[in-house]
């Protein structure tokens, strides 16, 4: 047997090449995501001179704070409506099978991807002074005169619910489909009436989906621009619109960056709270 000299080299390690693949994406994100975000935060603190000047303006003077609170209000309202409508719809959908389920899923996913601009535009048409909604209201006798719907919180809310409903439905349906029907059967056998069955068994099991849906809808609603711009505007300005206005019209970058940073911090905080909550949930369910 030939005795080849053993090569003294470092052992070949499995995962190394896979880890290296991350170089390009990391560099890309660092330059085109992390650095821009950092810039925004920095600019809010440095421009025109270092300090919290921009924040004092944004958080403590009139319209800015109002707009921020208004954004929270709208986001919360939209989330609540989506949950109210979404929960029963998801529950029913979760029980569907075959072509019905596929059709519903296609519809929900499809509307997810339809252009937000176009959908907001559609509501613009519907909510016009002499649009369909007003015509119906007058015809049904709810009012004598066409009502102003556009540029109200109602219009914005309805428009946003239309776009964000799928975001609530999908996690809910996914979670509800995983609920073991045997658990419900067991509950019924054990004597629980429908109300108790729902509150005690179904609701807790659907909770992860509810949390995911709420988080998704709320966070996305906070950053909305298109729908509030088209259906609201004027009195009903939201944070993203404010930022855009500050940059585009007033060229007030520091203020824009400050508002953006507040929005950013808030979104991240919410997300962290959410992950902490879901981890606690998982831990609890594993016990």
């Amino acid at each position: 047997m030939t005795s080849a000299t053993a090569r003294a080299g470092r052992p070949w390690v499995m995962g190394r090449s896979y880890a290296l693949l991350l170089l390009f994406p990391s560099a890309y994100l660092a330059v085109f995501f992390l650095w821009p975000l950092a810039r925004v935060v920095l600019r809010s603190l440095m421009d025109p001179k270092p300090g919290f000047g921009a924040y004092t303006k944004v958080l403590f003077t009139g319209p800015y704070l109002y707009i921020l609170f208004y954004t929270l209000e709208v986001a919360a309202l939209v989330t609540a409506v989506c949950l109210l409508i979404g929960y029963p719809v998801a529950a029913i959908t979760a029980r569907m099978r075959g072509w019905r389920l596929r059709l519903m899923t296609a519809l929900i996913v499809g509307s997810l991807w339809m252009s937000a601009v176009i959908r907001s535009y559609a509501w613009m048409i519907l909510f016009q002074r002499f649009g369909v909604v007003n015509q119906m209201l007058v015809a049904l006798g709810f009012t004598d005169q066409p009502v102003r719907i556009l540029q109200t919180m109602t219009a914005v809310t309805i428009g946003m619910v239309h776009i964000l409903l799928p975001f609530m439905l999908l996690p809910l349906i996914a979670t509800m489909r995983r609920i073991d029907p045997n658990l419900l059967r067991a509950g019924r056998i054990l004597g629980a009436n429908p109300v108790r069955l729902f509150l005690g068994v179904y609701l807790p099991l659907s909770l992860p989906g509810v949390q995911a849906g709420i988080m998704l809808v709320f966070i996305t609603a906070l950053g909305f621009f298109i729908t509030p711009s088209l259906l609201g505007g004027g009195r009903t300005m939201m944070a993203a619109m404010l930022i855009e206005q500050e940059v585009d019209i007033f060229l007030d970058w520091p203020t824009a960056c400050a508002v953006a940073t507040v929005l950013l911090v808030f979104t991240i905080a919410l997300y962290l709270v959410y992950t902490r909550l879901t981890r606690a949930n998982v831990a609890r369910s594993l016990r």
């Binding site: 995962g15 896979y18 880890a19 290296l20 693949l21 991350l22 390009f24 994406p25 990391s26 890309y28 994100l29 085109f32 995501f33 821009p36 975000l37 950092a38 925004v40 409508i85 719809v89 029913i92 959908t93 389920l101 519903m104 899923t105 296609a106 519809l107 996913v109 499809g110 997810l112 991807w113 252009s115 601009v117 176009i118 535009y121 559609a122 509501w123 613009m124 048409i125 519907l126 016009q128 002499f130 649009g131 369909v132 239309h162 409903l165 999908l170 998704l216 906070l222 950053g223 621009f225 944070a239 993203a240 930022i243 855009e244 824009a256 960056c257 953006a260 929005l263 950013l264 979104t267």
Partner: protein, 267 residues
């Protein structure tokens, strides 16, 4: 069936019907509007004509914007597929603990309001001398589209036995070959779906386009936006209808590629 159960069934069916109407009706309104003969957005339209489609066809700006959006969408899709696949492979297969948080970083752009990323990228593009180029828009779009590819490819990678790649290696395939002959066929449909989603995101994206594009690199959403802020004619409805049809076809292909109970990534 008991009266209660029947009542439940009817209530349920009504609810679903209402929801379907709620989701679809506004879109049908847009389609109907595109055939109206009047200049303003009166609904319902009194007669149906093709005049707005002809106006659309005659206006080079719409065609150009549509074409730009397609080009930018395709480039974004390609870049996102590259970035998304590289990251998904690294996060799923490297077995290193420190890589997990990076997965969250890659998905992060999906969760943040685009406006923040937009006002951050704008000065960056200025610095790099890329402002008002196609590249700027593609780069920006790829940041927010990559998470989608990452999610679908990660799901695809998790969906099969990693021993397949190990087997390929013992059989003589090096890193690249085991990717090409084993990984790629296995993640194929997941990658394709992710790519289509990336295209769809780019095609409809407004915020980043507002800041990173220019009249030279006009995208469809930007042009729509301009019109909506100023001259509202039913041409917009015609454009919108075309976009709706296009999106519909795009997603139809996704449905064909997908397993029926796969998880949908949320944009």
């Amino acid at each position: 069936m008991t009266a209660g159960a029947l009542g439940e069934r009817i209530a349920g069916a009504t609810l679903i019907a209402l929801l379907v109407i709620f989701l679809i009706a506004p879109l049908l309104v847009v389609v109907l509007m595109s055939f109206t003969n009047q200049l303003y957005l009166a609904f319902p339209p009194t007669e149906l004509v093709l005049r707005w489609y002809r106006a659309l066809w005659d206006d080079p700006r719409w065609l150009e914007a549509g074409w730009n959006s397609v080009v930018i969408g395709t480039l974004t899709s390609a870049l996102s597929m590259l970035l998304g696949t590289l990251s998904a492979l690294a996060v799923t297969r490297s077995g290193r603990a420190w890589i997990q948080p990076i997965g969250s970083l890659i998905v992060a752009p999906m969760m943040l309001p685009h406006i923040i990323i937009a006002i951050g990228l704008y000065p960056t593009m200025l610095d790099l001398g890329l402002n008002s180029t196609y590249a700027a828009v593609v780069i920006g779009h790829a940041v927010v589209a990559t998470p989608l590819v990452f999610t679908t490819v990660t799901a695809a990678l998790r969906g099969y036995d990693p021993a397949l790649e190990l087997a390929a290696m013992t059989l003589g395939a090096n890193g690249w070959r085991s990717f090409r002959y084993v990984t790629l066929p296995m993640i194929g449909s997941g990658l394709a779906v992710g790519g289509i989603f990336a295209f769809a995101v780019s095609f409809d994206e407004l915020m980043l386009a507002l800041f990173l594009a220019s009249p030279r690199t006009e995208t469809l959403p930007r042009l729509l936006w301009e019109h909506l802020s100023q001259t509202i004619t039913p041409v917009i409805a015609a454009v919108a209808t075309m976009v709706l049809i296009f999106t519909f076809l795009l997603l139809g292909s996704v449905v064909l590629l997908r397993r029926p109970d796969a998880e949908e990534p949320v944009p």
